[in-house]
Amino acid sequence: MQIVDEDKIRHIAKLSKIALKDEDVPVLAKQIEQILEYVEQLNEIPDNIEPLDNLTGNFNRLREDVVVDFNNKEKIISNAPKSKDGFILVPKVLDN
C-alpha cells in the first residue's frame, strides 16, 4: 500500500517552506516511501512502552536572569544578507 504520493510530498514541502523543483518531487516521493515502509515495523511495539524523549532527566534548569553585554553587535547585523542603519531588511511581508 502506498503511504505517500507526490501531492503529499508537495504539501509537506510547503509546510516546511521549501519550494521543491518539479524534478525532485518523484525522487523524494520514492525515497521517502521506501523509508516509511521500512519504519512500519515500529508498529509492533506495544502501546504500553513509554516514549522516551528526555535522556538526562534535566528539566528546566534555571539560571539567574542577568543581562550579559555582547560586544560583537555589528557583526551580527553584518551577517544579515541585507541591512540598513542597523536594521535587517526583508522583502515585503504583505501585498499592496
Binding site: D24, V39, L42, I45, I49, E50, D53, L55, N58, P91
Partner: protein, 467 residues
C-alpha cells in the same frame, strides 16, 4: 623537517621544551602538509593561517622565557565546519551558510583555546551532519586517506581525514548517529562520542538535539583522554549538560559484552574476522566474553532516522534567509524568499530529511511515527544499560561495511547507506558513550571497533582502549 606522523600532545611539548623545533615550525609544517594533500583529499573548507602563525609566535616567546605551558599550548587542531568558531568560516557543509562567520566560539572551542591550542582550519562534513560519507556536503567529497577511490566517511569525514593525514594533532567533531565514530573507523583513527550531555553543544549547529554530541578525534588514545578531560562538564548555555559524578569508575568485571544481533547478515565477513580476532586477543589477556541478546536492535535504524529527522526539521527552520547565511536573490515577497532560500540553499539530502521529519511530526502522524520511535528508543536504552551493568564495556564493529566506493556510475541505494549506521545509532539512541579504535585493514582500507560504555563512563572506554 618535522616528522608529523607520530606526534602526540605530550611529544610535541617535549620537543618544544628540548628546542627540537619551534611552535611556528610546527604550524608551518602542518600548513605545508595541508597544501600537499588538501587538493586531492578535500579536507578543509576554510583555513586560518595568519592567526595560527600569530598565536604560534606567542607560544614560542613563552617557551623562550621558560614559562609553564598550558595543557594544549601550541597544539594545532581542526574543527568540524558545523561547530562555530570566531576565526575562519562556519558553513556546516551547506551552501545556506556559505561564507558565514560566527560571532562567537562554541563552548568547547573556548575551553580548548583557553588551554592554548591553535585552530588551523575548519573541516568538511555532510551538510548539517546529514550523511555518512560527506557526499552530501556542498563543498565536495572528502576522500579516504588510504584510497582516493573511497570516502572518508561522515559526517565528520574532514575531521577524521585531517588527523589521519597528519595535517593537525587532533580534531573536534560532532556525532549524532555515528558521525565521529564511522569516519574515524573509515580513516583508521581514534574517535570518541561522549555520553549525551557530557560535553556542551553550545555553538554547534543542531542536527538532532536529543542525540547530538561533540567529541574528539586523534591518532592515539592518550590525546583523546587529554582533550576529553578538557571539554567535558556542565555549561549554563546547554541545559542538557550533566555533572560527571561517576567519573574515574574503574574497570572491574574483566568481562566484555558482545551483542548477538550485531552479528547479522549485513556484516562484511572480513570485518567480522578482524573483530573476532581482536576479541580473542582480549581473551588471551584474561577477559571473559559474554554474549547478550538485544531484541530491540531491529528497531534502531528506524527509530534513529525518525527522531533525528523530526528534530532536524525543527532545528533547520531557522535557516530562512532573514538574519544570516544565504538568501535567495530576486524574491519580492517574504514567503517566496523563505521557499526559494531553503530550496536553493539546502542539499537534496537535507531537504529529504526535513520533509521526512515534518511528515513524522505532522498532525495525525506524530503518534504513529515520532512517538513510536521514542518508545523504541526507550526499549533500546533499557536493554543496553542492563547489559552495561554486567560488563566493563560492550564491543562491536563500528561499521558493518568498508568505506564506500566513490563511483558516479554506481548510485548507492539511500536505504542501504542508512542501514550501515546500525552499530553506531544504538549507543546514540541510548545516550551512552562510544569510542572507535582502529583494529586493522581489509585490503588497504581501515577497519574500526567500537568500545561502548555507560553514561558518563568515558573514562572506562578510554582505559579499555589502552589495554
Amino acid at each position: 623537517m618535522i616528522d608529523l606522523k607520530n606526534l602526540t600532545i605530550e611529544s610535541i611539548h617535549q620537543d618544544f621544551i628540548n628546542k627540537e623545533y619551534t611552535c611556528t615550525d610546527l604550524v608551518n609544517a602542518y600548513f605545508v602538509k595541508i597544501e600537499e594533500v588538501n587538493k586531492d583529499y578535500n579536507i578543509y573548507t576554510s583555513l586560518v593561517k595568519e592567526s595560527a602563525l600569530n598565536q604560534a609566535k606567542l607560544v614560542d616567546e613563552k617557551i623562550l622565557k621558560n614559562e609553564p605551558l598550558r595543557k594544549l599550548e601550541g597544539i594545532p587542531f581542526s574543527v568540524k565546519d558545523s561547530i562555530c568558531t570566531l576565526e575562519g568560516k562556519s558553513q556546516a557543509g551547506s551552501n545556506i551558510l556559505k561564507d558565514f562567520e560566527s560571532t562567537y566560539n562554541a563552548t568547547v572551542i573556548g575551553k580548548i583555546l583557553n588551554e592554548g591550542a591553535i585552530l588551523i582550519g575548519k573541516t568538511n562534513c555532510d551538510s548539517f551532519g546529514h550523511g555518512s560519507s560527506t557526499k552530501n556536503s556542498d563543498y565536495g567529497i572528502t576522500k579516504n586517506p588510504y584510497s582516493l577511490d573511497h570516502v572518508a566517511g561522515g559526517s565528520s569525514g574532514g575531521a577524521a581525514a585531517s588527523v589521519a593525514l597528519n595535517t593537525c594533532t587532533f580534531a573536534i567533531g560532532e556525532d549524532t548517529g555515528g558521525s565521529i565514530r564511522e569516519p574515524a573507523s573509515f580513516c583508521g583513527v581514534y574517535g570518541l562520542k561522549p555520553s549525551y550531555g557530557r560535553v556542551s553543544r553550545y555553538g554547534a549547529m543542531a542536527y538532532g538535539s536529543s542525540l547530538d554530541t561533540i567529541g574528539e578525534l586523534a591518532n592515539n588514545i592518550n590525546d583523546i583522554e587529554i582533550i576529553q578531560d578538557i571539554i567535558e562538564g556542565l555549561d549554563d548555555k546547554d541545559t542538557t549538560t550533566i555533572d560527571g559524578k561517576t567519573k574515574n569508575q574503574k574497570l572491574k568485571t574483566k568481562t566484555i559484552g558482545i551483542i548477538k544481533e550485531f552479528d547479522g547478515e549485513g556484516l562484511d565477513s572480513r570485518i567480522k574476522d578482524l573483530f573476532y580476532k581482536k576479541i580473542e586477543e582480549y581473551k588471551a589477556k584474561g577477559y571473559s566474553v559474554k554474549e547478550f541478546s538485544m531484541p530491540s536492535i531491529k528497531y534502531a535504524v528506524a527509530a534513529y532516522y525518525l527522531i533525528a529527522c523530526s528534530e532536524t526539521s525543527s532545528n533547520l527552520s531557522r535557516f530562512d534567509g532573514v538574519k544570516f547565511g544565504f538568501r535567495a536573490p530576486d524574491s519580492t515577497k517574504l514567503e517566496d524568499m523563505y521557499l526559494q532560500t531553503k530550496e536553493q540553499g539546502f542539499s537534496f539530502e537535507t531537504k529529504k530529511r526535513i520533509i521526512l521529519g515534518t511528515y513524522a511530526l505532522s498532525a495525525g502522524y506524530a503518534d504513529k511515527y515520532y512517538k513510536k520511535a521514542c518508545s523504541a528508543r526507550n526499549l533500546i536504552k533499557q536493554e543496553l544499560e542492563k547489559i552495561l551493568e554486567e560488563v566493563d564495556v560492550v564491543l562491536a564493529p563500528t561499521s558493518p561495511v568498508l568505506p564506500f566506493e566513490i563511483n558516479p556510475k554506481i548510485e548507492m541505494d539511500p536505504m542501504t547507506e542508512y542501514l550501515a549506521d546500525i552499530y553506531t545509532v544504538v549507543p546514540s539512541l541510548a545516550g551512552v558513550c562510544g569510542l572507535n579504535i582502529p583494529i586493522g585493514f581489509v585490503e588497504k582500507l581501515p577497519v574500526g571497533m567500537q568500545v561502548i560504555g555507560g553514561v558518563l563512563n568515558e573514562n572506562n572506554v578510554i582505559e579499555f582502549a589502552k589495554i
